[in-house]
Symmetry: C2
Amino acid sequence: MSGIQEIASATGLSKSTVSRALRNLPSVAPATVTTVRRKADELGYIPSSAASGLATGRNRAVGVVVPVIDRWFYVRVLEGVDAELRRAGYDLILFNLGGPPSDRERVFHRSILRKRVDALVLLSLVFTEEEREQLELTEYPTLVIGGPAPGIRHLGIDDHDVAYRATKYLLDLGHRRIAHIGGRDEAGMNALVPGERHEGYVDALAQAGIVPEADWSPNGEFTLAGGRDSMARLLDADVVPTAVFAASDEMAFGAMIAIQQAGLRVPDDISVVGIDGHVFGEVFGLTTFAQDPTAQGARAARVLLDELTGKPALPWFDPAPVVLVERTSAAPPPAH
Amino acid sequence: MSGIQEIASATGLSKSTVSRALRNLPSVAPATVTTVRRKADELGYIPSSAASGLATGRNRAVGVVVPVIDRWFYVRVLEGVDAELRRAGYDLILFNLGGPPSDRERVFHRSILRKRVDALVLLSLVFTEEEREQLELTEYPTLVIGGPAPGIRHLGIDDHDVAYRATKYLLDLGHRRIAHIGGRDEAGMNALVPGERHEGYVDALAQAGIVPEADWSPNGEFTLAGGRDSMARLLDADVVPTAVFAASDEMAFGAMIAIQQAGLRVPDDISVVGIDGHVFGEVFGLTTFAQDPTAQGARAARVLLDELTGKPALPWFDPAPVVLVERTSAAPPPAH
DNA sequence: ATGAAAGCGCTAACAT
DNA sequence: ATGTTAGCGCTTTCAT
């Protein structure tokens, strides 16, 4: 109801002065600031972001685009982005590309590109050539978290390297029969991540002179149920692995459950390691290579915010850290 | 860069006609619409939400306020709200009250009340008297999901009833020694939910003439680890329950893990039931009373959107449905 | 330190 | 069916 104008009238000042006072600009008498602020409170003044956005071209908001919301990784990243934005007084607009593919187009055009945000964080997304161009046209500072995206700078862990380390870890424990529960491309999501992790696995094995069984890389779909089912199939085969490297903790949990359900024990019969650092890891006793998506999100937001205030754009990021968290799901293979 | 004006000039039409054409208003010649749209594409026209927001007073955005993001329930609700908003071409602004309490105040004033949204969905939040007043001043259509909030209409399940049914279910199976893993108030979150669930449990027991042991309502903090620890403690006592009703699936999973780690079996030695309908339930084989937070979110968004288009406000909602999903975690108590 | 005036890009009467 | 004219509520020169 009440705008800057009412405050001006009520205090006998001009709109400009009120505007300045409200924004703590220099060259406003301290006394004036006090008067203005008090009147503002009194009148229950609430600034209109549309008006200031129109006048300045700044929205004080950044968009976060996700392929789906309901995934541990995205939620954690969101948490990090949010924390940093909040400190800066920026709002977070969430764009979910999930659901019917037709929606994707709509969201993309009608929403993302609507000049509502000042910058964009894209999570694990792969874009079409056309979408990329559109994004560039907007000239928003933009970056991708979670998996390389051709043509856009990205922030995240080195997927090949973690997978390599995870496999190596199992190798060093003495395992030779190591399976890998991974993923495949999913609609609109980054297909490169599962690919790189699989390669890291294959490469580590190759270096040890091992060629993995053909069907030892089942698709766990990055879900708990997928991990369980994949493991169950692995357990059914003629030759069973003594260790499993899952491309995500969730799949690793699924594998652990399948192993127990089969009457076997982790790690006595089969060792399991994952990637992620999921909260549930502690309870499951999962040995994993943990990343910190929240930190990645915060970092991304920080970078974007800096660029919004004029800092030159970073063209490239060092890989985000991954730390080995040793718990009880991995041990040397059974003696026999 | 280019606005409605350039299109007007380029086509020889007036700003108004272009505006109308772009918004598919009636009373614009079909041919004109075509011309305008083509020119718009050609020029890479992107509407400014700030400008139209300022002109109309509508932002085509709704805010969702959460106490923390990283919780199964909230994420699912978010998914539902988002789906509905997307269909209507609305954006979703996420306000996270989590983190330092000082932030809460800032988010509340600087962001939520900034006239950036047209309506508000509040998740499991309890507000101070002052916050409530502020909210009312904004006159946004508002509603709460997940737990009653004094003074604001709310949408969600009947917590007392589910808890009653869950306990009754165990009772009907023949159990007499039933424990309840629940929660307590958490910073800024709805303290009423765990309370109601606990009461439902107590009431069902009372009706069967049972007074629960004093320490059979441990605080599982609504987390997996909390559920596990609570169960472990329960298992350590002199007299051990034959069944456990957990106020959330996550705590139920934790309880199941603790039971297994103690060398006991579910449901042979101890039965477990939960509330929620968490995806992991299937893999864990958890018998639970499932709600559908996504549907609740969608419903909420639908209602708000309707009210934005003039429909009279609904003062009250029927409780959201809860369905019993029977799996393998609950059975009659051991014979002896 | 403060004020006056123009304008951000769109929408909405009110014409015609 | 289209054009004219005012704003929406701020910020920002440019004066003073």
